[in-house]
C-alpha cells in the first residue's frame, strides 16, 4: 500500500501537470476558459510558455528605427538605422551577441510602435491632426523616454559637438507581395510613424 501511494503521488502530479499544460496551450474553449484562473495560477510562475514559433503567421515585416541628429552648429545628419548593420553582421556570423542585441534595440522600437497603435486604435484616429495629438501624448510615456535616451546616446556617440535636436521614426517594412516578387522595387509596403524633432 505504501509503495502504491509512493507511486501514485508523483503519477498524479504528472497527470495534473500535463493536464494543466494542455489546458494552457490549447486554443480558448469552454473548458480552458472555465479553468483559466487555476491554470494560469499554476503555469505562469514556473511553466510559463508560448510556442507560437512563427505561428499562426510567420514574421511578415521588418521593424526599423531611424534617427537623425542636428548639432549646435546646424549640421544635420541623414536618417540612420542602427539595427540594420547589426543584423547584417549577425547573419554573417550567427554565433555572437549581436543577434540578441538587436532584440534589445528592436524592443525599444516595438514598444513605441505598440503604444502608438494602441492609442490610435483607442481613439479611432485617422486624421493627421489626431495623429499629431497622439504623437504629442506619447512623448510623456516611458516608451518614448527610452527611445529618446537611446537616440541621444547614438547621436552623442557619433558627434563630438553638442546635440541641438534629434528626431526618430519607427518603420515597418513589408516584403514585396508574392505577386510582385520579381518587380524591381526593393521592398513592399512601408508603414512609418515619424515623431516630431526633440530640441534639447
Amino acid at each position: 500500500m505504501k509503495r502504491t501511494i509512493l507511486f501514485f503521488v508523483p503519477a498524479l502530479i504528472l497527470g495534473a501537470h500535463l493536464l494543466m499544460t494542455v489546458l494552457y496551450l490549447i486554443p480558448v474553449n469552454p473548458a480552458s476558459k472555465y479553468y483559466l484562473p487555476t491554470v494560469q495560477a499554476y503555469i505562469e510562475p514556473v511553466f510559463s510558455q508560448n510556442w507560437g514559433l512563427f505561428a499562426p503567421e510567420p514574421a511578415t515585416s521588418s521593424l526599423q528605427f531611424w534617427f537623425r541628429c542636428e548639432t549646435t552648429d546646424g549640421q544635420q545628419s541623414d536618417w540612420q538605422d542602427p539595427i540594420y548593420q547589426l543584423i547584417k553582421d549577425h547573419h554573417e556570423f550567427p554565433f555572437s551577441f549581436r543577434g540578441k542585441l538587436t532584440y534589445v534595440y528592436q524592443s525599444i522600437a516595438r514598444d513605441l510602435l505598440n503604444a502608438h497603435v494602441e492609442k490610435k486604435n483607442a481613439q479611432e484616429c485617422s486624421s493627421e491632426k489626431c495623429l499629431a495629438a497622439i504623437r504629442a501624448e506619447l512623448t510623456s510615456t516611458p516608451e518614448f523616454a527610452l527611445a529618446r535616451r537611446w537616440s541621444l546616446d547614438l547621436c552623442r556617440a557619433q558627434n563630438s559637438k553638442p546635440i541641438r535636436s534629434l528626431q526618430f521614426q519607427v518603420l515597418k517594412i513589408f516584403p514585396k507581395p508574392y505577386s510582385e516578387r520579381h518587380s524591381p522595387q526593393a521592398t513592399g509596403r512601408i508603414e512609418a510613424v515619424p515623431f516630431d524633432p526633440i530640441y534639447l
Binding site: L6, V9, L14, L25, A55, Q64, L101, V104
Partner: protein, 694 residues
C-alpha cells in the same frame, strides 16, 4: 457461458494487476534512464554555458543597471517572483557579474552531474534571474530551457537516499520528471504545428517567402530561391507544418524516433544558419537528447571519457585502406591509434577474429572492447583531434543505421576483391521498414502541396490518358447501365453530352492516323474534350463511391462545380475552370494563334498555364484527333471559335478528367490530414495575388 465470462474477466483483472505492479516496481525501484538523464543534463549545461559565453562580450547591454532593458516592476510581486528577479532590485543590479560567474561554474558542475539536484536547482535560480532581467532577448529556446532546468531539479541518475521509501519516492519523482520533459518537447511541436495549421500563410504555402524576405530572419539567397521556385516554397512550408504536427506522435515509437530526431536536427540547424536564430535552434536540438535511449546515451558518454589507445587492423593489400591508414597516422597528434596489418598472423590483438573476416571488414580493438566496420571507423576518427567535431554527425549516421550501408558501399568498391557480409544490415532493414511510410508521407506532402500553393495554382493532374472513341463508348455504356445518363447530361449540358456521343461513334483508327498538326482543329476535338469531361465525372463518381471524401458539402469537387453557369468565385476551383484555362491554350495552337485571341484574353494566366506539362499533354492528346481533318475543317474551326464563345467551355470540360483525379486525390489526402480542405480551396485562386499579404 456466464462462468466463462467471469473467468475471462478475472483473468483480465489479474493481468492488469500484474501489469500495474510491474510498472509500479519499475518506476519505484529503478531509474529508467540514468545515462540519458546524465547525458541530457550535460547537454543542457553545455547549452547554458555556450549561450552565456556568447552574450558575455555585451553583458553590459543586457544585465547592467544602465542597459536599455527596463527592470521588472516588483512592487506587488510574490516572494517567488522576487527571488527570480533579484537583478531588478537596485541593490543587486550592479553585481550582475557574480551571477554570470556563478551561473557558468554551476553549469559546469551540473553538466558533470556533481550533486545533480542541488546544482540543477542553483542553475535554475541563476539562469532565471539573469534571463528575467534581460526578458526582451528571450526566445522560444530560452523558454524551453527554463522549463527543462526546473524539471531537471527532480531528475537524478541515481538516488543516494538510504531510506527505502525515500529512495522509492526519489526514483518515482525522477522518472516522472523525465517523462514530463519528453512530454513538454512534444507539446512544443504540437502547439506550434496546430497553430500553423490555423494560420493563413502556412497552409497557403507562402509563409517562408515572407519570412525569408524579412531582414531579421531572412536570407537573400534562400529568399531568392523561394521567389523563383514555387514548388520549393510550398514544399518547405508544408513539410514544416507536417513535421511539427507529426512530431508529437512519431517521436514515441522507437522505430520512427531516429528519423524524427535527424529531421528535427536538420530543421533546427537550418534555422540556426539560415535565419540566425542561434540559441533557439541549438536549444531545440539539445532538447532532442531527452529522447535518447539509455543505451545510446551510455554509448555517447563513453566517447566523452578519456580516450584509450586503439589498435586498428588495416588490410595491407587494399589501396583505399592503406591511404586511410596513412591519413589517420598523419592526424593522430596524440598517438592514440596503432595501425596494424590485418594479414599479420602474429597480430595478437586480433587473434580471435578469423583472417578472412579481418580482410573484409576493418577491425578496431580498444582494451577489451572490439568493434568493426563503420563503428571501427568512428572509433578511429574520434581519436583524431581535428575531426572530433564531426563525431556526433558520424554517430548520428550510425544511429540511423546508415553507417553500415555506407561502409558496405565503399567496401564493395575497394580495389581488392573483398566485400562485406551480404546479410541485410541494420541500416538496410531500417530503410526497408521506412521506405513505405516515407514514400506515402512524401506523396501526401506532394499532393497536399498541389492545393493552394503558388506552384500549383493550377493543380497538377495525373497525365491524361488518351481516350479513344471506343473507350468513350464503353464509358457511356457503363454510365447508362448505372442509370447515370441523366445526371451526366445535367452536369455536362445536353450539347456537350451530344458531342461525347458523336465522338464515341468515331472509329479509333480515325484518331490514330496522321501525325501532329499545329493547325489542327475540328469539331471532333469538341467531342474529345467533352469526353474528358465525362471521364472527370466518372472519376468523381467512382472515387466518391469507393474511396469517399467525406460529406458532400465539404468536398472540393462537389456537384456545383460541374454547373457551367457558376463562376469560379462562387464555387472555388473546379475541373471545369481548369479546362477553361486549358481551352485558350489549345485553341491558340489548333486554330493558328489568331482567331482565338479573344478567348485567350479572357484568361490572364493562359501564358503561365502553357508551361504546365499537364496542359501540354492535353494539347498533345487532342492534336492527333484533329490532324486528319485539318484541311477540311480549318476554316470551319476558326469560324466556330470566333462565332461561338461557348467553345471555350466545351474545351473546359476536356481538362476535367485529369484535374478531377488530381483534385480528388489531393482532397482525400488533406481530409486524411485533418486540414480544412474546403476553406483552403476557397482561398485559392488562379492568381498570385492570393498569396500576398492583406
Amino acid at each position: 457461458m456466464k462462468s466463462n465470462s467471469s473467468i475471462r474477466l478475472t483473468d483480465h483483472i489479474r493481468s492488469l494487476s500484474f501489469l500495474f505492479i510491474n510498472i509500479r516496481d519499475k518506476v519505484l525501484d529503478t531509474q529508467t534512464h540514468p545515462s540519458t538523464i546524465k547525458f541530457f543534463r550535460g547537454v543542457i549545461s553545455v547549452w547554458v554555458v555556450c549561450n552565456t559565453l556568447m552574450l558575455l562580450p555585451a553583458a553590459e547591454h543586457f544585465w547592467s543597471s544602465h542597459s536599455y532593458i527596463p527592470a521588472t516592476d516588483l512592487k506587488d510581486a510574490t516572494l517567488w517572483k522576487t527571488s527570480l528577479n533579484l537583478l531588478s532590485l537596485e541593490v543587486v543590479a550592479p553585481h550582475y557579474h557574480w551571477f554570470l560567474v556563478a551561473q557558468l561554474l554551476v553549469a559546469i558542475c551540473a553538466g558533470l552531474s556533481f550533486a545533480p539536484r542541488v546544482s540543477s536547482a542553483l542553475l535554475y535560480f541563476l539562469t532565471m534571474n539573469l534571463d528575467n532581467r534581460a526578458m526582451v532577448i528571450q526566445d522560444g529556446g530560452n523558454n524551453l530551457m527554463h522549463i527543462v532546468l526546473f524539471l531537471l531539479i527532480f531528475m537524478t541518475p541515481h538516488s543516494s537516499a538510504r531510506n527505502p521509501s525515500l529512495r522509492s519516492f526519489s526514483n518515482s519523482l525522477s522518472n516522472m520528471a523525465f517523462f514530463m520533459v519528453r512530454a513538454q518537447v512534444a507539446l512544443v511541436y504540437a502547439t506550434a504545428g496546430l497553430l500553423k495549421v490555423q494560420g493563413e500563410l502556412w497552409p497557403k504555402g507562402v509563409a517562408l517567402y515572407y519570412t525569408m524576405n524579412v531582414l531579421e530572419y531572412g536570407n537573400k539567397f534562400v529568399g531568392g530561391l523561394m521567389a523563383d521556385f514555387p514548388l520549393l516554397l510550398a514544399a518547405g512550408c508544408l513539410v514544416t507544418v507536417l513535421f511539427q504536427v507529426t512530431f508529437p506522435i512519431l517521436i514515441w515509437p522507437r522505430a520512427t524516433r531516429p528519423l524524427l530526431m535527424a529531421a528535427g536536427t536538420f530543421f533546427h540547424l537550418s534555422i540556426v544558419f539560415v535565419m540566425g536564430l542561434t540559441s533557439f535552434g541549438f536549444a531545440l536540438c539539445a532538447s532532442y537528447f531527452i529522447f535518447y535511449t539509455d543505451r545510446q546515451a551510455e554509448k555517447t558518454l563513453s566517447w566523452l571519457r578519456p580516450r584509450a589507445r586503439v589498435v586498428a587492423a588495416f588490410d595491407a593489400d587494399c589501396g583505399i585502406c592503406q591511404s586511410f591508414a596513412r591519413w589517420v597516422k598523419r592526424f593522430d597528434w596524440f598517438n592514440l591509434i596503432t595501425p596494424s596489418s590485418a594479414q599479420d598472423p602474429a597480430n595478437q590483438v586480433l587473434k580471435s577474429v578469423p583472417l578472412e573476416h579481418r580482410l573484409k571488414v576493418l577491425q578496431a580493438t580498444c582494451g577489451k572492447s572490439h568493434v568493426e566496420g563503420y563503428d571501427a571507423i568512428v572509433a578511429v576518427i574520434s581519436r583524431l583531434p581535428l575531426l572530433i567535431p564531426i563525431v556526433p554527425v558520424l554517430q548520428t549516421i550510425g544511429y540511423l543505421g546508415l553507417g553500415d550501408v555506407l561502409y558496405a558501399r565503399i567496401a564493395q568498391n575497394r580495389s581488392r576483391t573483398c566485400s562485406v557480409p551480404q546479410t541485410p544490415s541494420k541500416g538496410k532493414r531500417m530503410l526497408t521498414r521506412f521506405s513505405r511510410p516515407v514514400a506515402s508521407t512524401l506523396c501526401t506532402v506532394l499532393i497536399s502541396s498541389l492545393i493552394s500553393s503558388p506552384a500549383t495554382a493550377l493543380p497538377h493532374a495525373l497525365q491524361p490518358r488518351p481516350m479513344l472513341p471506343s473507350e468513350t463508348r464503353e464509358l457511356l455504356n457503363q454510365i447508362e447501365a448505372e442509370g447515370s445518363t441523366q445526371a451526366m447530361t445535367r452536369f455536362l449540358t445536353p450539347s456537350v453530352t451530344q458531342a461525347i456521343r458523336d465522338y464515341s461513334r468515331l472509329e479509333d483508327s480515325a484518331i490514330r492516323k496522321n501525325p501532329a498538326d499545329p493547325y489542327a482543329a475540328t469539331p471532333a476535338v469538341y467531342g474529345a474534350a467533352a469526353a474528358g469531361g465525362a471521364a472527370a465525372k466518372v472519376v468523381e463518381h467512382v472515387w466518391d463511391r469507393y474511396v469517399g471524401n467525406g460529406r458532400i458539402a465539404a468536398r472540393v469537387i462537389n456537384d456545383r462545380n460541374f454547373d457551367l453557369s457558376k463562376t469560379t468565385s462562387e464555387v472555388g476551383i473546379s475541373p471545369v475552370d481548369v479546362g477553361a484555362f486549358a481551352a485558350p491554350v489549345w485553341l491558340q495552337q489548333s486554330a493558328g494563334n489568331i482567331e482565338t485571341r479573344v478567348a485567350s484574353n479572357t484568361f490572364k494566366n493562359a501564358a503561365l498555364l502553357r508551361s504546365y506539362p499537364e496542359i501540354r499533354s492535353l494539347v498533345e492528346y487532342n492534336r492527333p484527333v484533329t490532324s486528319e481533318f485539318v484541311n477540311q475543317y480549318r476554316k470551319q474551326a476558326r469560324d466556330y471559335v470566333n462565332n461561338n464563345p461557348q467553345a471555350q467551355w466545351v474545351m473546359a470540360v476536356g481538362g476535367a478528367a485529369a484535374a478531377a483525379v488530381g483534385y480528388k486525390a489531393a482532397e482525400y489526402a488533406l481530409n486524411q490530414m485533418g486540414a480544412r480542405t474546403s476553406e483552403l480551396i476557397r482561398r485559392a485562386q488562379f492568381n498570385d495575388r492570393a498569396f500576398d499579404l492583406r
